[in-house]
């Protein structure tokens, strides 16, 4: 489903250029849940953002469901509607109600009729447990509720892949659970997911594979049992010692 070959992303701001993603190759098959962990600044978010072209990568190849993102013939917008993304800071549209947040892209991008989009949106809002807030503005919702709306908004496009960029990092601790529950349910339903997170419990229980990134490279890629009990890399060992 996702295929990455020799991906390179260089940030060349002031000072010397930083290779945020340094020659990464991996793949994620259909229905697989991959959790990416690593210290901050290790390039895991940047790597995730390269997967739907939010970061323009410098070199390498990203192939989503057989479509090469870097190909000049590829329309990036048609790829993105197949790849849902959930952000750390939710990024709901504050000037639209919860329902409008979920229906807007359906109508504008998928060209669905209003009734169809509304129906789909309400079904998804019910699924994430927030249907009763459909006509509220996002500012009236708690962080956990907003993030669940953001997940519903991404799912409304019927994506083949879901990317989660630290979806619980900006939440109060008591709201983390409700978001992880939704994600876990998605994983059970067979959604292909790539998740950047610091929730080791989630990684252990839900992930099929755990990738450990540091300095732009994937240092370790193993099933959660193996990774959490016997990490091979010394860098991964110290990281786990600090977070667990």
């Amino acid at each position: 489903m996702i295929k990455v070959n020799n991906l390179v992303k260089v940030f060349s701001g002031r000072g010397k250029p930083v290779r945020a993603v340094d020659n990464v190759s991996t793949q994620v098959s259909k229905g697989e849940v991959v959790v990416i962990i690593g210290p901050s600044g290790s390039g895991k978010s940047t790597f995730l953002r390269c997967l739907n072209g939010l970061e323009a990568f410098d070199d390498g190849q990203v192939i989503i469901d057989g479509v090469d993102l870097g190909d000049s013939k590829t329309n990036i917008n048609t790829v993105r509607r197949e790849v849902g993304m959930v952000f750390q800071h939710f990024n709901l549209f504050p000037h639209k109600t919860v329902l409008e947040n979920v229906t807007l892209a359906q109508r504008v991008v998928r060209k669905r009729k209003a009734a169809e989009a509304d129906e789909k949106a309400m079904a998804l809002l019910t699924k994430v447990g927030i249907a009763e807030k459909a006509h509220e503005y996002p500012s009236r919702l708690s962080g956990g509720q907003q993030q669940r709306v953001a997940i519903a908004r991404a799912l409304a496009m019927d994506p083949k892949v879901m990317l989660f960029d630290e979806p619980t990092s900006a939440l109060d601790p008591e709201m983390v659970g409700e978001v992880l529950d939704v994600m876990q349910q998605l994983a059970r339903e067979g959604m292909t997911m790539a998740v950047v997170t610091h929730e080791m419990g989630f990684a252990r229980e839900v992930a099929h594979r755990v990738m450990f990134m540091d300095a732009g490279k994937i240092l370790e890629d193993a099933p959660p049992m193996a990774f959490f009990t016997a990490p091979k890399e010394p860098r991964a060992q110290t990281f786990l010692k600090q977070v667990l």
Binding site: N52, L54, N77, T78, R80, R81, E82, V83, G84, M85, F87, H89, N91, L92, F93, P94, H95, K96, L104, A105, V108, V109, Y137, S139, A150, R153, A154, M157
Partner: protein, 322 residues
């Protein structure tokens, strides 16, 4: 003793009143010293006045009847050849004929009075509509220019920067002259069109910068979220970024528009009879210089403060989703 105290306010309000009163007193003394004679009673007629229209006999004949009709009178004139009587209505106090008199065609019978709009009202109207039209066009220009200013295309960006710098770096008065005497002559433009064009270009440059700032103030996450849903750059702009940006820049845009109403007084230099030009014209006939200028200032003040109130109300309405 609690840290939070409630200091007495009334002495300060009193001081404020005292300062304002002494300002007024100062003005009064100043006009006394130049022996200025106030003639405020001359001002109202420049808002509305009663015009007299002389009424003349449409046919030659004899006045057969005069019937009072309120403050007016109906005068029936029967032609000598025995045709149907023709009636003319005039104000009773202007009546110049009696029953039995014979009148020739187009003889004066009296006058009708009716209310007419005075030059101050007319000038105010011209100021308002010129400001609204040029403000509307300016908003449109500003929107386009603001978007071009942020365009990744160097040509569009360069043109926007050039236009903005050109307008912001030169005085409006000079722009109006250039627009009227140069562009107006080349393109054979009416003075009103030239005035509106100059004002619209002027306000457009400032609006462009306001809109650019508004767009840039919207968090990057908003457009990232929209783009990640597969929306194009244009869809993201129209559905996500612009609505939020416009809401945010409403206060500075309103300020710009209120400035425009005041700046529009400069078009009086190309002989557009706006409020300021009307004021100047009235002074030449009324000699009530101080009164007219104070009245003109007050009229601008009324329009701008009404607009402030309206925009304040709009802002609160838009704050719904916050």
């Amino acid at each position: 003793m609690p840290l939070k105290r409630h200091p007495t306010q009334w002495p300060w309000h009193g001081l404020l009143a005292l300062i304002l009163l002494s300002l007024a007193a100062g003005l009064w003394v100043a006009t006394k010293r130049v022996n200025y004679e106030w003639r405020w009673e001359r001002v109202p007629q420049y808002f509305f006045y009663q015009a007299e229209d002389a009424q003349s006999a449409p046919v030659a004949g004899t006045i057969t009847q005069i019937r009072p009709d309120g403050a007016r009178s109906r005068v029936d004139i029967t032609p000598a050849n025995g045709d149907q009587a023709v009636s003319v209505t005039v104000e009773t106090d202007t009546l110049k004929v009696k029953v039995g008199e014979t009148v020739a065609e187009s003889n004066d019978i009296g006058a009708q009075r009716h209310w007419k709009i005075g030059p101050l009202t007319w000038g105010l109207w011209v100021t308002i509509w010129i400001s609204f039209v040029s403000g509307f066009i300016g908003l449109f220009i500003g929107l386009i220019t603001g978007l071009c200013r942020l365009s990744p295309n160097p040509t569009l960006r360069g043109l926007a920067v050039f236009y903005i710098e050109l307008i912001r770096g030169t005085p409006l008065l000079v722009q109006i002259f250039i627009f009227y005497f140069f562009i107006g002559t080349v393109l054979n433009l009416d003075r009103i069109v030239a005035g509106i064009g100059a004002l619209a270009l002027f306000v457009g440059a400032y609006t462009a910068e306001i809109i650019r700032a508004g767009i840039q103030s919207i968090a990057k996450g908003q457009s990232e979220a929209a783009r990640s849903l597969g929306m194009t750059a244009a869809q993201t702009m129209t559905h996500i970024v612009l609505p939020q940006a416009l809401k945010r820049v409403l206060p500075p845009l309103a300020g710009q528009f209120i400035s425009l109403i005041k700046d529009s007084s400069l078009v009086s230099v190309i002989a557009i009879t706006d409020l300021t030009k009307s004021g100047r014209e009235i002074i030449t006939s009324s000699f009530a210089t101080f009164e007219i200028w104070f009245t003109v200032a007050l009229l601008y003040l009324v329009v701008t403060s009404l607009l402030s109130q309206l925009l304040f109300w709009l802002e609160r309405r838009f704050a719904r989703s916050d």
